[in-house]
């Protein structure tokens, strides 16, 4: 199953897709796995070690695309690539982190940062990310007081 230059990766939802090995090892996790196991045991091991959700497949696909673009167009392509909604961004984030793909992780975190910067106040941040406010009123007040010492 493991072809010479291509790696076959199986995701949790049992989809198998091939990527060039050089792309596959951009993921630190996969890189580690390939060095740890021999090729025969590889496929079997992989079924268990890679509990993927749909998002993992997406991540691999996109990483492949990533590598095909030349440098000049890369920044344009990247900004478009990350212009996704919170759902997709979340999936990408999880995938990038689990697979340990540095470039993808950088792009995603910057984009999440952009989301935060666009929020005018704390309540909007909570809404954007779907977070519950678990502070007591007094705690919030204390934090605001400390924050005011920050020189901005």
């Amino acid at each position: 199953m493991l072809l010479s230059k291509n790696s076959a990766l199986e995701s949790k939802d049992n989809e198998i897709f091939e990527v060039e090995e050089s792309i596959a090892i951009q993921s630190e996790l996969i890189k580690t796995m390939t060095t740890m196991v021999n090729s025969k045991a590889y496929v079997n091991e992989r079924n268990q070690m890679v509990p993927e959700a749909r998002c993992r497949k997406q991540a691999n696909y996109h990483v492949e695309q990533n590598n095909k673009i030349v440098d000049e167009e890369l920044s344009d392509w990247e900004s478009k690539f990350f212009e996704v909604d919170m759902d997709d961004l979340h999936e990408l984030f999880m995938a990038a982190n689990y697979l340990e793909i540095e470039s993808l992780l950088n792009g995603v975190t910057k984009r999440v940062g952009d989301f935060i910067k666009a929020c005018k106040n704390v309540e909007v941040i909570r809404q954007t990310f779907g977070i519950n406010n678990d502070f007591a009123a007094q705690q919030e007040e204390e934090i605001r007081k400390l924050n005011s010492w920050n020189h901005i």
Partner: protein
């Protein structure tokens, strides 16, 4: 990067599956709906490990981080331990909040304490508290902390062994404080001192102390007693960058001591035949900025002994002349960046620049302000400094169309050009239209002879270039006089400048300039002149 794999929260996963439809922001924004489903809101960040969240925060400024810290308890916690850089309003009232601040921000390595002139700053006690709570401080910046004394700095220094950078401005402590820092912070690499009020006449000299080997950058600015720092500057034997700006005192002698350090190494060398290349013993100084100082050609000659210099700024030092520059050029062949502000004293000009052209073939960046350079030296530089990428020419009465035409024809590697307040005209812009093939950015400011038409024309010629030009029509003062004169020539003579929509005032100005510039105005004449120069330059090249 070493991100740890996330802990997959099964509970949250099922929540995700069941309530996916809730995750669209449209639902969440509805107030009433939100109340009903408050408990089941999807937290997008819940599955992310703390390290990932911290990584996101790294891209945010303090204002955004402050907002993040108020979102929820988890975000507050993550922001707290991941804030390594902190900038505080260092007023005296902060003392009661310091313990809470540094319990919350327990990993601060880079700290700035800024106090405005209107407030009373924090005191020695506060600084002590900070030094005890921040055991891993590597950088400290103090601005306007006028209540901190020599003793306060000394105590701080004893607790801050890991300090690598100190920058203090507008503080009131003196030489004792600095010596304490230099004695206790043996890892100090960068020291920047500006407007230190506590250094009086007769103050103790400031020496490198325990930081003699570690110091790599020293910047002294607006100090009354510059001489006190001589031992520091001379004794830091691994110094790479030295900046002295507007400090009183005679700096020639200090520079001589630095320059002679090289010779001392050489003398020691003779005794030890195992020494390798000659590079290992030459002065490591790579960057020197001298600005508004009492320094003369003696100082420049001393600098020329630092043969590794790559970056030199000689700004508003009226006692420096061509002689000193020639000395530097002849010995510092690795020079990459050169900034000269001649302050229009006319002591540095073609002669010095020709020497630079001759010896400094690595030159990448050249800035000339108030320096009367002509095409003679600029041509030499253009021809011989084949790596020149950035050039700025400002406030010089000798930089005219011929000079720019010269640059356009010969500076093959030039990427960025700035011309400010020079007597050039549209002819110069025309020359740039077809010259400098690698030019990506051009800035023309306060050049009265250049019309906005020229800018438009240049945009058409070189579409990919970033062009930043004054709208000279509004700036220039002689609008009225030109229309009075009533010259009506259309701008055809200036070659391809499109006269479509050109106002009579700009055409009139061109005509006026043409008459003023005399024989340089005609396009054909410019071409002839260029041919003449290239012949001259051939001779120049042979001699070099």
């Amino acid at each position: 990067m070493g991100q740890s794999p996330p802990v997959v929260l099964g509970r949250v996963n099922s929540l995700c599956d069941s309530f996916t439809f809730l995750s669209s922001s449209a639902f969440i924004s509805g107030e009433g709906f939100r109340d009903q489903i408050a408990v089941e809101i999807v937290d997008y960040t819940a599955e992310l490990p703390d390290e990932c969240l911290a990584f996101v925060f790294q891209f945010l400024g303090p204002g955004d981080r402050n907002r993040c810290s108020l979102v929820c308890k988890r975000w507050f916690r993550v922001d707290g331990w991941s804030r390594h850089r902190l900038s505080l309003n260092a007023q005296s009232e902060i003392v009661s909040s310091l313990p809470s601040l540094f319990t919350r921000f327990d990993s601060v390595t880079k700290l700035a304490l800024r106090c405005s002139r209107k407030s009373i700053s924090l005191t020695d006690d506060s600084l002590l508290t900070i030094s005890i709570r921040c055991r891993n401080l590597t950088r400290l910046k103090l601005r306007g902390c006028r209540e901190i004394t020599d003793e306060g700095m000394s105590t701080f220094a004893k607790n801050s062994k890991k300090l690598r950078k100190l920058s203090c401005g507008s503080c009131m402590f003196g030489a004792k404080a600095l010596n304490a820092v230099l004695d206790h912070c043996a890892n100090l690499e960068e020291l920047s001192v500006k407007r230190l009020r506590g250094i009086h006449d007769g103050a103790e000299p400031i020496g490198p102390g325990a930081a003699a080997s570690s110091l790599k950058m020293i910047c002294l600015k607006e100090l009354v007693n510059g001489q006190s720092f001589a031992p520091l500057v001379v004794g830091s034997k691994n110094l790479k960058t030295l900046k002295i700006i507007h400090c009183l005192g005679d700096w020639d002698s200090v520079l001589q001591l630095i320059g002679n350090r090289n010779q001392n190494y050489k003398e020691n060398l003779n005794c030890d035949i195992n020494y390798g290349s000659s590079d290992s013993n030459s002065n490591p100084l790579m960057e020197i900025h001298l600005e508004r100082l009492q320094v003369s050609d003696i100082g420049l000659s001393a600098i020329s002994k630092c043969t590794k210099i790559e970056n030199l700024h000689i700004v508003k030092t009226p006692e420096c002349s061509n002689y000193g520059l020639v000395c530097v050029a002849e010995n510092c062949k690795l020079l990459r960046k050169l900034h000269i502000d001649g302050w229009r004293t006319n002591r540095i000009g073609d002669e010095g620049l020709i020497a630079v052209a001759k010896h400094c073939s690595n030159l990448q960046e050249l800035v000339l302000i108030g320096v009367n350079a002509t095409h003679v030296s600029l041509s030499a530089i253009a021809c011989n400094c084949s790596k020149l990428e950035r050039l700025a020419l400002c406030g010089s009465g000798t930089i005219g169309d011929t000079e720019i035409a010269c640059i356009a024809a010969k500076c093959m590697a030039l990427k960025k050009l700035c011309i400010k307040g020079c007597p050039i005209s549209d002819i110069a812009i025309e020359a740039l239209g077809s010259g400098c093939p690698n030019l990506v950015k051009i800035k023309v400011r306060k050049c009265r002879g250049v019309s906005s038409d020229a800018g438009e024309w240049l945009r058409e010629q070189r579409g990919s270039m970033l062009i930043n030009m004054d709208a000279c029509d509004t700036d220039c003062g002689f609008e009225a006089s030109v229309s009075d004169i009533g010259v009506h020539e259309t701008g055809v003579e200036v070659g391809q400048v499109t006269a479509v929509g050109a106002s009579t005032s700009s055409n009139g100005r061109l005509a006026l300039l043409r008459s003023k510039l005399g024989h340089f105005a005609g396009r054909n004449l410019v071409a002839c002149t260029l041919r003449r120069w290239s012949n001259c330059d051939d001779n120049l090249n042979i001699n070099l």
